[in-house]
């Protein structure tokens, strides 16, 4: 014990030395600050809106959800916007998911890697970055005009034209996220399938798609949540800004005038009457709850498929 070699002493010293890692510490503080700042912004927004909205819900209760649009703040409710947003969400899902996922499967699993597919891939990525108002113009000049030409009522400004517009808007995102999910499926899984004599269809259907399903679901439903919050394209694609009456018939729902929650929020936020301030916040809270429930659904579905293995 007493006779320790010089090496041992040196090793002991270096082990015991507390090296100050100043830059490392500074970096972790920076990370923490960035996270806190983001969190604070979110919490402030949320608390601010919720506190303004609470009196409306206390006073009006369910009535706020079931009343239609009105220029009288005491009667105004979000019913049309809520119905519009839910129907819009379902229409966009029905249109966008099959189209986007099938396109991604084609690009990743079937199309070869050549100049054309690379060109298509780059274009899809660029389309994802096109401002949403541009899609609104597309909706107005193509989809609304299409329904108008077919003789639909209300000059073709119906929720289907709106849904097609939003589908075009989020399709690139759905394709990109689904492609990423498919690409992350290990090659060895495909080889295993081909190795036992499965055809490309069987490998894709029975092995690749199930493995990619959680990623595809997460990406597509987050894209859908984005579509639910869009205002700008629908301003052009025919959503009503202001009041209108709903007959309640199914035909009217799909071909008549429509609006969605973000439009209601936008409309009310511009109103001069002070009473609409609280109503705006209440509509925002309803929109947030709707979006959050879509996201929750996405997470539940993903967990369900992940848990299997």
């Amino acid at each position: 014990m007493a006779s320790q070699s010089a090496t041992s002493i040196a090793v002991q010293r270096s082990l015991a030395r507390q090296r100050r890692d100043a830059t490392g510490l500074a970096f972790s503080i920076l990370l923490l600050l960035a996270m806190l700042l983001t969190l604070v912004i979110l919490v402030v927004l949320l608390v601010d809106q919720v506190t303004r909205a609470i009196p409306v819900f206390q006073e009006r209760g369910v009535d706020f959800l079931t009343s239609g649009l009105s220029s009288n703040p005491a009667n105004a409710g979000v019913f049309q916007g809520l119905v519009g947003s839910i129907v819009m969400g379902m229409l966009v899902a029905v249109l966008c998911f099959p189209l986007g996922i099938l396109t991604a499967v084609y690009l990743e699993e079937y199309a070869g890697d050549n100049l054309l597919t690379r060109f298509i891939d780059i274009n899809i990525r660029n389309l994802a970055g096109v401002p949403s108002i541009v899609y609104g113009l597309l909706g107005l000049t193509v989809f609304v005009a299409f329904f108008a030409a077919l003789g639909f009522p209300n000059n073709g400004r119906n929720i289907i034209a709106g849904a097609v517009t939003l589908t075009a808007l989020i399709l690139p995102i759905v394709i990109i996220t689904s492609s990423e999910a498919l690409r992350s499926v290990p090659k060895t899984l495909r080889e295993g399938g081909y190795g036992v004599g499965a055809s490309r269809w069987e490998v894709t259907r029975q092995l690749v798609l199930p493995a990619a399903r959680p990623g595809i679901l997460t990406g597509t439903i987050l894209a859908l949540a984005r579509a639910l919050g869009e205002t700008a394209p629908l301003l052009l694609a025919g959503a009503i800004l202001g009041t209108f009456s709903t007959s309640g018939s199914l035909q009217d729902l799909f071909t008549g005038p429509y609006t969605v929650l973000p439009m209601t929020v936008y409309d009310w936020a511009r109103k001069p009457q002070e009473e609409f301030r609280a109503l705006t916040s209440a509509a925002i809270v309803v929109l947030l709850v709707l979006t959050l429930s879509f996201n929750t659904l996405a997470i539940l579905l993903r967990n369900r498929y992940q848990k299997r293995w």
Binding site: T188, E191, G192, Y194, G195, V196, G197, A198, E202, W309
Partner: protein, 292 residues
Amino acid sequence: MTTETLAPAIDVGGAVAGAAAPAVASHDGQGGSDPMAAIPSAVELRGVSLYYGAFRAIKDVTLNVPRQRVTAFIGPSGCGKSTLLRSMNRMNDLIPIARAEGSMLFHGEDLYADYVDPVEVRRRIGMVFQKANPFPKSIYDNVAFGPRIMGAKGNLDDQVESCLRRAALWDEVKDKLRQSGLALSGGQQQRLCIARAIATEPDMILMDEPCSALDPRSTLQIEELMAELKEKYTIVIVTHNMQQAARASDFTVFLTMDQDRAGYVVERGPTLEIFTNPKNQLTEDYVSGRFG
């Protein structure tokens, strides 16, 4: 079905220095002079060259793979032995730029003929990969996958059990058939992949370095399994482990690459001959560990 054993007196033929066509010819087409052709063949390769785009990965391989024997492909990294193996069940078709020349006769039919369906080829010539790749499904569904895509309906219990037994895995998994195949150990996963491969009732099983990620005990289990499986199947194994080739194979094919990095067969024959009495200096250097 043949039970014929190799006569030790069979002439192995001359050394094949550069694997030039005439030298290869001295090995082939002369029946008795090639011990690998003396046994009925599972696959006959005739002048096979394999390309990735413009790059030639394998040049002019002529080879008989003896039926119900274990044949090992050995050689330095990058010599194309995996490429050659994967060409035998057309797995290379999955790589768009891969291309094959020459012919591969399987039951008298050229595997690369225009009218041959690669999917059907892979049902008859199964494959086990370097890294065990069970499907993210239950053990039962892993084995039943092949039969099901071939149209098997209903109860596959007997078939699943017999495949797992033949893969020497049954006793370890019989109580957890509904559990995920991914929950097994590495060696068990690889045996599950073997069970999955034999479930389509192939003639031949190709193994691409099946033990390279396994511990010695699991490796030994796989080698013992190969010895049992050759009663029924033809097995071709690519291995980096020369002891494994020496222990587990009946025939050995030594490949290396030329200055253009194209792989070719230097020497082939009964494993014992290749390891104890190689005809070619390159083979001797490789099997004695002086090169590669």
